[in-house]
Structure formats: structure tokens, C-alpha cells
Symmetry: C2
Subunit: 146 residues, 2 copies
């Protein structure tokens, strides 16, 4: 591809839509999550634990594509709020396993209503959301150096 073929307007840059849409979603979630006392990254982290409890910090970081330096304090805040416990792995003294408390598990009951509300707000059909999700995963996986 030659430079001449590349869109130069900010609206056309493939990074711009992602950047603004991502923040718009975070903002749209905020009022729902505020009622649960959660931030958006905290909520996403909990969804991973609802799916599979007892993950290590490392596994959570991998799933989210972030550094443990981001997750350690986040998980500590979840612990301080009483949603999870952190304990050293018996098999590997370095690893920390994150486990949901009853309170943390109970929060999962609220999730479907929040998701439903967000899907409704989005104005996109389920088919469009699936198409979007597929493209996002393809983009993300393409960019991962690994």
C-alpha cells in the first residue's frame, strides 16, 4: 500500500473510532456499575472470575492483555472491597490465586441486567455486535506480537 492510498483525515484513521468508541462504552457503563460500586476494569476482571474462579493474577493479566503492574493494585482494591481474596498458591509460592468471596459471587447476579441494558442502549443488533466482536478479535490478535 502506498502512502497516497492511506486515509489522512482523523475520522478515517482506523485508530480513531476505536479510541472514541472504547471510551464511550466505558462512560455508558459507569452509571450502572456505580450502583454496584465498581469501575469498568474491575467489572471486567470480575466477569473473568465468574467464568473461572481461582485464577492467578498472571492468568487474569493474560486474558485482559495487560501487565500485572496494572492488575495487582486493581485486585487489591477488589480485595479491600470484599469481593475477592488473594492467597499464595500451594504449588507455586510465587503465584497469587484470586478467589471470589460470597459477596463477589453475588454480584454476578446483576450482570445480565447490565449487559442487556447496554445492548439495548447501543442501538446495534445482536448480529452487528457479533460482527463487531469478530472484527475486534481479529484486529487484536493480528496486532499481538506474541
Amino acid at each position: 500500500m502506498k502512502h497516497a492510498d492511506i486515509p489522512t483525515r482523523a475520522d478515517d484513521l482506523f485508530c480513531y473510532g476505536l479510541y472514541t468508541a472504547s471510551h464511550a462504552v466505558t462512560r455508558a457503563y459507569a452509571p450502572h456499575l456505580k450502583a454496584l460500586g465498581l469501575t469498568y476494569p474491575q467489572y471486567i476482571t470480575l466477569t473473568l472470575l465468574w467464568e473461572e474462579d481461582g485464577r492467578q493474577v498472571n492468568a487474569l493479566a493474560q486474558k485482559l492483555g495487560m501487565e500485572t503492574s496494572t492488575l495487582t493494585p486493581l485486585v487489591k482494591r477488589l480485595e479491600a472491597m470484599g469481593h475477592v481474596t488473594r492467597s499464595k498458591s500451594a504449588l507455586d509460592g510465587r503465584a497469587v490465586e484470586v478467589r471470589l468471596t460470597d459477596a463477589g459471587k453475588a454480584l454476578s447476579q446483576q450482570a445480565p441486567a447490565v449487559t442487556a441494558c447496554m445492548i439495548g442502549q447501543s442501538g446495534l443488533s445482536v448480529a452487528e455486535l457479533e460482527e463487531l466482536q469478530a472484527l475486534l478479535f481479529k484486529l487484536r490478535d493480528g496486532l499481538q506480537p506474541r
Copy 2:
């Protein structure tokens, strides 16, 4: 839509792909932008100025969908780096106009190569990227309360 119809796995949540893809893009841009001494939000802000110079802080915030409390320090850093100037509007004493310096304008020469590289890395066709962009804008605009 009933709750039973809502995907509950984290992978299927429509927020998850956006969250991880957005960070993946930021991370993929980082090495290219580091060579220019810029962060990703700084780069996007500059693209808006390359498109139309002399915008007010408010206009930039609107375009990016962010608060002025985020942009004010960012623009000040761009000023400290010598890429822009900040000056009070003659027509409205409250407003601050952001203008590119010669150095800031010169940076725009590097942008097409960066964009081209990112598009190549993404592994998506231009058609797919346009489709993705369209869905993202639709999502974003659907979520804006306005």
C-alpha cells in the same frame, strides 16, 4: 430481550473485545510513536490539529469525547514539548486556542508511514477496517446520551 438470551461468557460480552482490542492498538502504536516522542492520546490530538489548526480545548475535547480536565494537561505537555502554542481567544476571553508550531506541523509528515505500518500489522483488509470503523461509530453514537 430476555436475560436468558444474553451471552454471559466474558468472551461474548460486547464490552470485552472492545476493551482488549483498544489496548492492543495503543500498545501496537507505542513503539512507532515513541520514536516521535509522543503518546497515543497526544498523537490523536495532533491529528485533529493537522486536520484543522487553532481549535479550542473545548472543540478538541468534544471531538475526542473527553473532558477538558483530561485535555488541559495533555495540551500543556504538547506545549512544553514545543508542538503547539496555547493562547486566549480574542473573541472569547474564556476560550484557549491551540495552534501548531512548525515543529508540530512537521510531525504530520511522519503520520502516513505510521498509519500504513499499523494497517499492515493489523492483518485486516481495508474493507474490513472500514466495516469495523462504521460499526464503532454507530456504537459510539448510539451510546452518546446527547
